[in-house]
Amino acid sequence: MPDTDVAVELHGITKRFPGVVANKDIEIVVRRGTVHAIVGENGAGKSTLMKILYGVQKPDEGSITVNGQQQSFSSPTDAIKAGIGMVFQHFMLADNFTVLENVVLGAEQLHGIGGAARQEIERISSAYGLGVRPGDLVADLGVGARQRVEILKVLYRGAKILILDEPTAVLVPQEVDELFDNLAGLKAEGLTVIFISHKLDEVLKVADEITVIRRGTTVQTVEPKGVTARQLAELMVGSELPTPQTEESTVTDRVALQVKDASLGSATGPKVLDHIDLTIHAGEVLGIAGVEGNGQAELVEIIMGMRDASSGVITFGDTDITEWHTREIREAGIGYIPEDRHRHGLLLDAPLWENRILGHQTEEPNIKGFLIDGKDAKADTQRIVEQYDVRTPSIFVTAGSLSGGNQQKLIIGREMSHSPKVLVAAHPTRGVDVGAQAAIWDHIREARREGLGVLLISADLDELIGLSDTIRVILRGRLSDEFDPDTVTAEQLGAAMTGADTKEEQA
């Protein structure tokens, strides 16, 4: 009985992608003036559903009702007209545009693109305490600020229904709290918020209602007071939830990798890396926490030789590899799980067996002399596929046609196959669903037991706390002291990650 206090009603939504059913008979009712959370594991279909509600993608079946009116959106324009705004999981900002330009784009008819628009932005910014400056170049902004620009974009268009797709994925606890304050403010204004997240404690904190999606279908809608995080998780996964467990320490005193006083200057302003000192022992997992964009990527790049540090020394065992080239470093036995598998880990339109060669073009079994040894490489790919449970019909399909999780498992298998002495793992389980996640953790632990040194960079604090022997926090290119994962709390880490409350400057 759709009455007027229902903001959005999704009925029987089904969406098929080539070979995939992303959404199947979705049923959701969102009441006006509430925060409605949608939870589900990776690939469950949350983003797709929201993209449908926002008119980016068209549903194959089902109906969308907004404020009691049946709608069929053919483009975001229609959705925006209907008062819907969306903040995407992956930021939708043009780096080389100013905040102003990013905000007014597509909504020029409201206040033009000049002074009037500027004032409006400043008004909204102060009204919701977003602290956004219209003149800034987005490229110069930190993640938190970008998040707020995204929200401002939506508010600027006078949206009454906000969709936030995993807004907290890249935020530290303090930032999350701020975001939630903002949401509370919005709610008070009578706005409706649809909120997507994996982080169930957060969800329980802010949501008035929670809808769980599993494998594309709505499982159940619950009230936060009625459930615990664990119950929610089991609804999501449909099974027991694995949590990372470090067993007894395997740390030796043999130094596997050492970075001494490494810095990386940047043409603009502050150093990207600032006198970094770190040591990884054989059998040790060193976890690096930090807000994205504080130098993690650069740290990895100088270790992997993809960039030259402007100063400092990097030693592998007891050999100085500072001047070495990426290939030599990889040959020497440093494995690499890149942060962005699509850009750095795979050739999406090459077959799996060629992707198995990638990164080890100069090592057995991939080669015979200066030739590529297709036969052995294929055989070994088959082995990886079986051993690491990569779900694929054959090793001849292109990597791009696998799901993220399976892509990730292939990469892990590939790196492990060359028995590295050190593994540089950036967000090894990002965007990978729970089953695969557990498997990947086990592989890391096992290798660790055999004396592997791991540099683990992750945004997922639970993962860090669960896997690491030592945790350090990177902030504005500087490394903090060590934290003991057994005692440290997420809040403590969060504080360190943001340098207490002075996070604005990190932009």
Partner: protein
């Protein structure tokens, strides 16, 4: 790229060029109709089977074009656009002719010297663009275009300096002619004509094979293709992309250096104002038609040469201006690339569907979640 043992995919692959040819024919016919030219006659003329003599000429042109297209393709394989093959082969042919004309070495050795000089000169000229990109990040598209123009001036200048006295009553100037002993005789391929196929066709085939082998079988080739498919992934995998730019540009230039040699060693015997120009640009088009594939390029070169051949007789036989053939060629290039793009997309889609179907088939239960992710 390709899934093994997949007839559907093969069919798709074959579909593209055929589709493209048909489109080209269709559009051209429409133009002819629009301008009131005799469509039927034109195609009758265009499709006339070449006589042995013409066929030989065709193969010869194709040989020259083949070198050019391979040179371009080497760059294309890693997203490097060597628009400068034209300048490179002219510089190279001149250098080779100038040196060869001196007959510093006895016959066969001199031929070898000519080959080496040509490749070196071509590589050098390409090297300038490579270095500019390597050290200064100058787009090779721009630099090679500029270098083509500069090559013209420099070669003209040098030619004026070293030019042998022009033959009595002739209006051409050129380098000293190669001695008889260092020319490459032709091969009698077809009866019914006294025309011969350039001896260097053998070199062309060899180069084609090497191209295929290096690209598809060697570590270097893997790095090259990896860079072409995803520069970022290649870098992460340890490929030194800047070095690759240098190497592949030099290789491309070296092959470009060979473009002029069939003419130099088998036809003109010197480099002069009458030396054939513009071969570099046809090379680009042919590389595109042939999809940077050694065999495909071969067929592309033959097709290109065939069309050029027919173009000559077209106006005489039908009173239709031969520029219509240029239109055919251009439309074909465009149609080919479009067709391949479409086919690629369709192929991708099909594969994604297959993957999920097969996964679903493998096991319905818990895997479905994963499977759904494909």
């Amino acid at each position: 790229m390709k899934t093994r043992f997949d007839p559907r995919r093969l069919a798709l692959g074959a579909a593209a060029p055929v589709l493209a040819l048909l489109v080209a024919v269709l559009i051209t016919s429409l133009i002819l109709l629009a301008t009131g030219d005799p469509v039927g006659d034109v195609w009758k003329q265009m499709l006339k089977a070449p006589k042995p003599g013409q066929f030989t000429d065709m193969i010869n042109s194709a040989t020259v074009l083949y070198f050019s297209a391979i040179a371009v393709a080497i760059g294309f394989k890693m997203n490097l656009f060597n628009i400068g093959v034209d300048g490179q082969y002219r510089v190279a042919a001149f250098a080779a002719a100038a040196v060869g004309g001196q007959a510093l070495l006895p016959g066969p050795l001199n031929i070898l010297l000519i080959l080496v000089v040509a490749m070196a000169a071509g590589a050098f000229w390409a090297g300038i663009a490579a270095w500019l990109k390597y050290s200064r990040g100058v787009s090779e598209v721009i630099s090679t275009i500029m270098l083509n123009a500069i090559a013209t001036g420099v070669v003209a200048w040098l030619l004026a300096k070293v030019a042998a006295d022009q033959a009595e009553g002739s209006n051409e100037i050129g380098t000293k002619e190669l001695p008889e002993s260092s020319r490459v005789g032709g091969i009698k391929l077809l009866s019914g004509t006294n025309k011969e196929v350039y001896g260097l066709i053998v070199l062309a085939i060899l180069v084609g094979f090497l191209y295929w082998f290096v690209i598809n079988r060697t570590r270097f080739g893997f790095d090259l293709r990896a860079t072409g498919r995803s520069e970022s992934a290649a870098v992460a995998s340890g490929v030194d992309v800047k070095r690759m730019v240098l190497t592949s540009m030099l290789l491309s230039g070296a092959v470009a250096g060979l473009v002029g040699l069939p003419l130099l060693l088998g036809e003109n015997y010197n480099y002069g104002t009458d030396f054939q120009a513009g071969l570099g640009f046809s090379g680009i088009a042919i590389a595109l038609i042939g999809r940077n594939n050694a065999v495909g390029i071969g067929l592309g070169a033959l097709l290109w040469a065939y069309l050029e051949k027919q173009a000559v007789t077209l106006p005489i036989a039908t009173d239709v201006d031969d520029s219509i053939v240029k239109i055919i060629q251009g439309v074909m290039v465009l149609a080919v690339v479009i067709a391949y793009e479409v086919v690629r997309r369709v192929g991708q889609r099909i594969e994604q569907q297959q993957v999920t179907k097969q996964l679903a088939a493998q096991d319905a239960q818990p895997v479905a979640a994963e499977g759904a992710k494909a």
